[in-house]
Symmetry: C2
Subunit: 205 residues, 2 copies
Amino acid sequence: MHKSAANSDKQPRTARGRQTLRKLLDSAAAEFGERGFHEASISTITRRAGVALGTFYTYFDSKDAIFRALVADMSEAVKQAAREAIEPEMPPLEIERAALEAFLRFAGEHKEIYRIIDEAEFVDPESYRAHYETVAERIRERIEQGAAGGQFRGDAGEVEAWAVMGMNVFLGLRYVIWRKSDDPDEARIATNASVLLNKGIGPSG
Amino acid sequence: MHKSAANSDKQPRTARGRQTLRKLLDSAAAEFGERGFHEASISTITRRAGVALGTFYTYFDSKDAIFRALVADMSEAVKQAAREAIEPEMPPLEIERAALEAFLRFAGEHKEIYRIIDEAEFVDPESYRAHYETVAERIRERIEQGAAGGQFRGDAGEVEAWAVMGMNVFLGLRYVIWRKSDDPDEARIATNASVLLNKGIGPSG
């Protein structure tokens, strides 16, 4: 599915090993997502994965290690979801719209991502910061490409990238995690955000 | 300073009582901010406040109770900080700029606010959600006032309010909590965000 995030010296070399690692990470996502870091345990993760307890240590040294690997794995999965939604020939604004819609859909299918990334602030602050710095850097690169092509303002950069990321994270929090029955769908939310990003909130015309 | 947030049946009736409650909340902010909810204890909070351990229970039933009161207290303090920066006669866009600058300054003086609000997601999810829903609702009301006056788009509402809140939270995370030495100051960040909100990221002219 996406690049594994285990310790580099414990990377599986076989297809079967990669499959076991994937099962462990998916079980860890479910377990940390439902019960939180402190309540989750290595034995519940392995039981859920249908993997022997001893096998866990072939891949990870500790609960902290699999949590850290999971944050990197989810960060990579978010990146992939956006990448698959983007075509290089799209105009810069449409790229941002498509990336947000893809993120909202991804979050809807992986609702645990909010709890896990947010808990990283306490369990593994470096992973937490690395996740957001990496996402912001990708947005900044896209914004600067748009500016270079004359479709975005020439002075747009890092501040705008963090603003866009914050918009996206909070729109997901409200319209995916705390979704209400009559809320607009992902496409509508992404379109509204795109209008805001394109023209701001000023009166039209 | 601002409305106390203790259990309503434990509200202090005297000035001295209110002062003790204030000391307890300020110590709790420092203690939860530095050590997190799980490491903090009632005895370290009272020691820090210079208040007898028994006195704590005049105001709060438990560590959970003072944490919950602290989240409400900080939420109220953020609201006050924005309110003091806003003049009713300001144009709607200037109100948003001033509110963001005030929030960034407040966060700079109370850096623990991020850790405490963020930890509420795990310690007291209802307070966490209530905090953001309340802030978003205030922004939505301001946006709808701006729209009613013709200075914001008529269709702007809840989606735009959550987008603005997300921008503000992440600009504070990057430029206050993770501040780097050569970063722009609060006024500059707020002005950049205001330009984005006003006209979007499209090329000017």
